[in-house]
């Protein structure tokens, strides 16, 4: 979706403000919102792409006005409510009002370390061959889905070069909407800064994105 999250090349956001000696979290609630989000993906049964879509799928103005953990927390609430795991009135009173729904499993303290260490690799075996080879010229398609996609607007329609073939990976456009992993070949595609931003752009700049095969077409 062309939402508030797709920020590459947008203007008017001001300077980057680094914070010296920044703490990992700025408030107690950020810690809890972070940990709840990680822990609930197990009983909640959602994947990383569903999580990303829940974060970005809100009015752009709202997205830009929220802090990052506020976005995380809002997405967590959304996903819990969608699955009837929690209701609004429960959050308002701060207690369970309905009996719990059965869930497959929850994150136990003894499993935290190994769960984090295992992570969630997205590369999948395939019998298919990649359609593009390193060095080949490709164009990012001009697509504008209202659903989840990881092709940023600033490269759409632009001509680039395949730099790496990264293997066959879970396709977020499908996985985010419960339509299966549908793995596709993934490539690093490099663009000249001037192809993206015009003749006035810095000639020493090149930018790459990682793009799944359905995002690309031959020159």
């Amino acid at each position: 979706m062309n939402g508030g999250q797709d920020l590459g090349g947008t203007q008017g956001h001001g300077p980057v403000v680094p914070e010296p000696n920044e703490p990992v979290f700025h408030d107690e609630w950020e810690k809890r919102a972070f940990a709840l989000t990680l822990a609930m993906s197990m009983p909640g049964g959602w994947n990383i792409d569903m999580g990303r879509f829940a974060r970005e799928n809100r009015p752009s103005g709202e997205y830009l006005a929220m802090s990052y953990y506020q976005i995380w927390f809002a997405a967590l609430e959304t996903m819990l409510k969608q699955r009837d795991l929690v209701s609004d009135d429960e959050i308002v009173v701060g207690h369970a009002l309905q009996p719990p729904k059965p869930v497959k499993r929850i994150l136990l303290p003894a499993d935290v370390e190994k769960t984090l260490h295992r992570g969630g690799p997205t590369e999948r075996d395939t019998n298919t061959k990649p359609a593009f080879a390193v060095g080949e010229r490709v164009r990012a398609k001009n697509i504008n889905p209202v659903t989840h996609t990881r092709l940023p607007r600033y490269v759409r329609g632009r001509l680039g070069t395949i730099e790496r073939v990264l293997g066959c990976h879970v396709f977020p456009d499908s996985n985010a909407h419960g339509l299966g992993e549908d793995p596709k070949w993934l490539y690093t595609v490099r663009f000249e800064g001037r192809e993206l931003w015009g003749d006035g752009a810095d000639p020493t700049v090149q930018v790459s994105v990682d793009a799944w095969e359905p995002y690309l077409e031959k020159e």
Binding site: W29, L36, R150
Partner: protein, 211 residues
């Protein structure tokens, strides 16, 4: 009721957005705990992991090893994930890591324009600026101006390569080893490696900076 309302109005100033969020997060944690969906001890462990154990010191050790050991450096640049695994770092948000080598002619910068993708096992959780609109919007369009916000100025003919982490590949910059560090141990070298130098928005410290 009128008085209550008046009271509430008077307290609007300390009833910030933040404290509303704080109350709501606490309420949700209670509900989820009561329903048996989360174990608060697991939450504590998750927080402790990213506050105390996993952070940029991990990446600094990887970089220092690469600076000291040419064979390791070659493995790291060829296939980052297993080479980083050799040092003991792996997992969530670092399942597929590619290491980018800075040279006198090429400077790499990492961004995630669409969200906040960042190599957790080697750098920990991303700083606020990395997730902010200014960084995510400008780094792909005008990286030199972003570097200027960090006080970094590169020669005009240095090529700048921006990596937008749009998939599950995570990027770690291998900065150039500072001069005047010949014969240094890996531990000492690691003290020169800053978080920002592994994102590309900074350079390593020089030996003088440690004095």
């Amino acid at each position: 009721m009128a008085d209550d309302h008046h009271d509430h109005h008077d307290h609007d100033h300390d009833h910030s957005e933040l404290s509303e969020t704080q109350l709501r997060v606490r309420a949700l944690e209670t509900v989820l705990t009561e329903k048996g969906y989360v174990d608060p001890a697991a939450l504590d462990l998750l927080i402790e992991t990213y506050e105390k154990k996993v952070g940029p010191r991990n990446g600094a050790r990887v970089v220092a090893k690469a600076w000291s050991d040419p064979a390791y450096r070659a493995r790291l640049l060829k296939d980052g994930t297993p080479a980083i695994g050799e040092v003991g770092y792996a997992g969530r948000q670092g399942e597929h890591i590619v290491v980018l080598e800075n040279t006198p002619k090429l400077h790499n910068v990492v961004v995630c324009t669409l969200c906040s993708c960042y190599p957790w096992p080697v750098l920990g959780l991303p700083p606020v600026w990395y997730k902010s609109a200014p960084y995510r919007s400008r780094t792909v369009a005008d990286p030199r101006s972003v570097l200027a916000d960090f006080g970094v100025r590169l020669p005009n003919d240095t090529e700048i390569r921006v990596w937008d982490s749009t998939a599950e590949i995570r990027y770690l910059v291998l900065p150039m080893r500072p001069q005047g560090t010949e014969g240094w141990s890996e531990d000492r070298l690691a003290d020169l490696v800053t978080r920002d130098s592994m994102i590309g928005t900074g350079l390593p410290k020089s030996p003088q900076d440690l004095k």
